[in-house]
Symmetry: C2
Subunit: 558 residues, 2 copies
């Protein structure tokens, strides 16, 4: 039987009206703000009304280091949510929104795959409910107001060379990375060197995802540092008086979005910060709301566990006072083989030895997650080429790590393929075995925080940072930012900063090239390698073949 | 009694669920795509299903040349729609969407005023249903794909100096008017001089508003000229293969938006092209849909009748095969006085002589509109300072022009204040007195079209255009664009190109500085004066005082 494509499966889905999905969670129609008949936002008033309810169990889905073979983290998140519902549990999922720009480069699909998808997938990959457009507008309003302030006399005495707030666009457009603005004469302002990032890299996006309510959002927006004076004192967004209007632009975007899985279970899809210069998780508001409405909430974090789970624990959980009950680490036998040194072209061949060699990567992630005091279970996302011997090799290895690996066939079978995992995850969560704590306390000096992550998660021998960087960190401590967590920006492909170093490397060092203060979001970014904040399009962008077909359906997006 | 502000009135409105507004027009719930509970889009399928129904009567609201005193064209459009409903007619209104960017500069409010407003006014001035964001994304996708094509080898042999497609942002941001992109080295492309316009100035916006359906939209997008080769041959959007993906991005934006007036009557608010370099009317799709669903459709055109009504007739009606049954010219006594030479500070003083002097401006608009074969009536939008003698002066003057002027108090009283006008407008429309024809035939040479508008509408003696411009127009004729209408871009404040020349000037000449081909939208733009396509923010932008108040309401937007 020929496999159906994701989009073929999604088009055949029998969607329920979003009103009925809301009813499953006890949300009255007046508190659902519909966007079409299959998407809705949940009103602020309703979200606020939930404060005194008990929380459900939080389940984090993370993964080994990504390889070109693909791991299926979102697919497993969606599948596990459906699986929990299938075994009679009241469960919801929480994932990030997709970025519009990259969809026109490579084929999209941030909504799961196979029989474990969130729908409507086309709209989730396009404008969805407009949240990213709102972030773009809010960000660029601040940019315009900074330049406008300088234009009309610069009462705040901003050093024009030290404006650190760029512009954003939700588009892959390399031409905008580095631009000179305000050319053309007196009426256009003062020429200055600047640039655009993609919207998901905006600090506004991180703030949206870390704010607990509109008042917190407004305060954090006000805290953004937009520029410095000649004396190096910072100029804040609130000095520019942009925070109020930005909050207004983001009012609706702060409301969590509700959609559904192929099996008509509730899915919260809200926010989408970068997983390198930001923390890479869906919004705190969505996660907290889901926890009030469901007994089990399955969520995911960007990249592998070394970046995604670490930031989920140390940034999101710390700020939101959340504690995961259990963590699922997703692995595939194909990815194990790649970690074991097999080339992509040879992944179809059985190779137990390579699988065994690649398991070291998985093993370290298991150990790392456990160090947060949280129980771990491994989900093997099944591919048709997997052999029994290879599967046994992973299972045996995981057993030696003191946990268990369960084969999951949700991609091909939906919830029916993942009930084993669902039963075990629910049992572990119900047993309240977790004793969660972040990796470092708030009051640890900033450079020590970086060292702690590098040594305990990446297993590096050392962190390299020249005096200028260490002085900067101390200056931020003196300025009152020492309590912030650090947000590591490094390659997702390795525990080290060398993307080609697969498996479980040791003996490496982590060079910190640059540090940045995201004072509104509330973290220090430590940049360890080349970080691209505005992607380009490939030679043949997928946009060239995206069209409406005769039936008004979108072809070429997936 | 202290007058309530527009926003106070709007907040006290008793809105009906948008489902009920749809029901009034016979639109089933599945064909309404809700955006919250008070806004909806109308499905393509439903719009297409209406093709064989008879059309209602089309009523155009236009105005004298705008003055700082304000005319209230949108307010009168909304009031007349409510007035027609109040006298038992089935009427709908069609207006443009507001642009987000300018809202943060000056206080907004493109939704009428007083007791003649469309609601929800806050959202109409912010993200609304996302149409403008979709236009921005579609426009900038094309920009990114052009630069990406050049980056990857430039197979189309685009002359990089002759890329005519800029970028857009829905923001007042003077710093973006003139920029150099692709700085920073090899991986960022080839440095080039470019810039941003505000989204409403995008040709994509004009195309959205002039397309009859998605297939027409796709074809028009493909027709956009984005660049020229060294041999001056044009490169089209379809050569870049961006048209399909742009159509996908605009699919939802093509669906007309339905909202309501304060009196719960249906209002179509869709599209918003600039009224200078574009044609300045709401979408053809919205107008045609409204005509199928209502017996009377009241719509408006941007600026005064010299620009707005002229383009409505010669561009929109020509392309959409529409014919207005009656035209309402809005005037105020205050504006008559300003046209008669009174300063703004003195408008509160009775001055019958100045009113009489200013009537010349109104008279010429009446004559012009009549020259299209359409009956005209004048609405005097009442202000508290108007005196009976002044009102009589206008009425007497209008009678000498062979038509009538009716005092309207919809701003203060809603539909009850405008029933006299509604009764007369309905009677004129029902009498089928119009014998509409555009001002010039398709096959008139382009330069003659410009001359025809300048002589017959502006009453200029002559059009000045140097050889280069006339050669360009002939070249476009040779290239097959000679059948297009012309879209005049000149100051709205005078019949002439001098904004200070009020009243009804004669003996002037119209200098054409530049001509542009909007091959996708389907018109030639003749630029006669400084046209600003990216506004700036004022010294104290209104954004500084826009905030959410304690009740979650938006303060400072109006």
């Amino acid at each position: 039987m020929a496999h159906k494509t994701d989009i073929e499966i999604a088009r055949k889905a029998s969607k329920l009206p979003i009103q009925q999905i809301g009813q499953k969670l006890g949300i009255a129609w007046e508190h659902l703000l519909p966007f079409g008949h299959d998407k809705a936002k949940i009103s602020e008033a309703f979200v606020a009304s939930l404060a005194d309810r008990p929380d459900g169990k939080l389940i984090l889905v993370t993964a080994i280091n990504p390889t070109p073979a693909g791991e299926g983290k979102t697919t497993t998140t969606v599948g596990l949510g459906d699986g929990l519902n299938a075994i009679g549990k009241k469960a919801a999922i929480c994932i990030r929104e997709a970025s519009l720009g990259p969809c026109f480069g490579m084929k999209g699909g941030a909504a799961g795959g196979g029989y474990a998808q969130v729908i409507p997938m086309e709209e989730m990959n396009l404008h969805f409910t407009g949240d990213f457009h709102a972030v773009t507008s809010a960000h660029n309003l601040l940019s315009a107001m900074i330049d406008n302030h300088i234009y009309w006399g610069n009462a705040l005495e901003i050093d024009q060379r030290r404006v650190v707030w760029r512009r954003v666009m939700d588009m892959n457009d390399r031409a905008l990375r580095d631009v000179v603005t305000s050319l053309g004469g007196v009426t256009n302002g003062f020429p200055s060197q600047s640039g655009f990032d993609i919207t998901v890299a905006s600090e506004v996006m991180a703030i949206l995802c870390l704010s607990t309510d509109l008042a917190d959002l407004n305060a954090r927006l006000g805290d953004i540092i937009v520029a410095y004076r000649r004396d190096k004192t910072p100029v804040y967004c609130r000095d520019i008086k942009a925070d109020g209007a930005m909050t207004v632009l983001l009012q609706q975007a702060m409301q969590p979005n509700l959609v559904q899985t192929l099996e008509n279970n509730p899915a919260f899809v809200h926010g989408g910060p970068f997983a390198n210069i930001a923390h890479g998780c869906n919004s705190i508001v969505a996660t907290k709301t889901a926890l009030k409405l469901a007994d089990y909430v399955v969520t995911e974090a960007g990249f592998g566990a070394d970046l995604g789970a670490e930031k989920f624990m140390n940034i999101k959980c710390r700020k939101a006072n959340l504690a995961p009950a259990v963590v699922v680490v997703v692995a595939t036998i194909r990815a194990m083989k790649m970690n074991g040194g097999v080339a992509k072209a040879d992944l179809g061949q059985e190779n137990v030895a390579a699988v065994q060699a690649g398991c070291a990567n998985l093993g370290r992630h298991i150990e790392n997650v456990k160090s947060f005091g949280v129980p771990v279970i491994v989900a093997i996302n099944h591919f048709a080429t997997d052999t029994q011997a290879e599967a046994n090799a992973v299972k045996d290895y995981v057993t030696t790590q003191g946990t268990e690996a369960i084969m999951c066939r949700h991609w091909a079978q939906g919830s029916a393929g993942i009930t084993d995992l669902a039963i075990r995850v629910a049992a572990i969560a119900d047993a309240d075995m977790a004793n969660f704590a972040p990796l470092y306390p708030d009051d640890m000096p900033l450079f020590e925080k970086i060292q702690t992550i590098a040594r305990r998660i990446y297993r590096a021998d050392d962190v390299l940072a020249d005096k200028k960087i260490r002085d900067q960190l101390r200056a931020w401590e003196d300025a009152g930012y020492g309590h912030l967590p650090v947000c590591m920006a490094k390659t997702p492909y390795s525990f080290s900063t060398d993307p080609n170093l697969r498996g479980a490397p040791t003996g490496h060092s982590v060079p910190v090239r640059e540090v940045r203060l995201s004072a509104g979001a509330g973290f220090i970014v430590a940049i360890c390698g080349e970080i691209m904040t505005m992607p380009g399009l490939p030679r043949v962008p997928s946009a060239e073949t995206i069209t409406l077909n005769g039936a008004g359906q979108i072809d070429g997006l997936f």
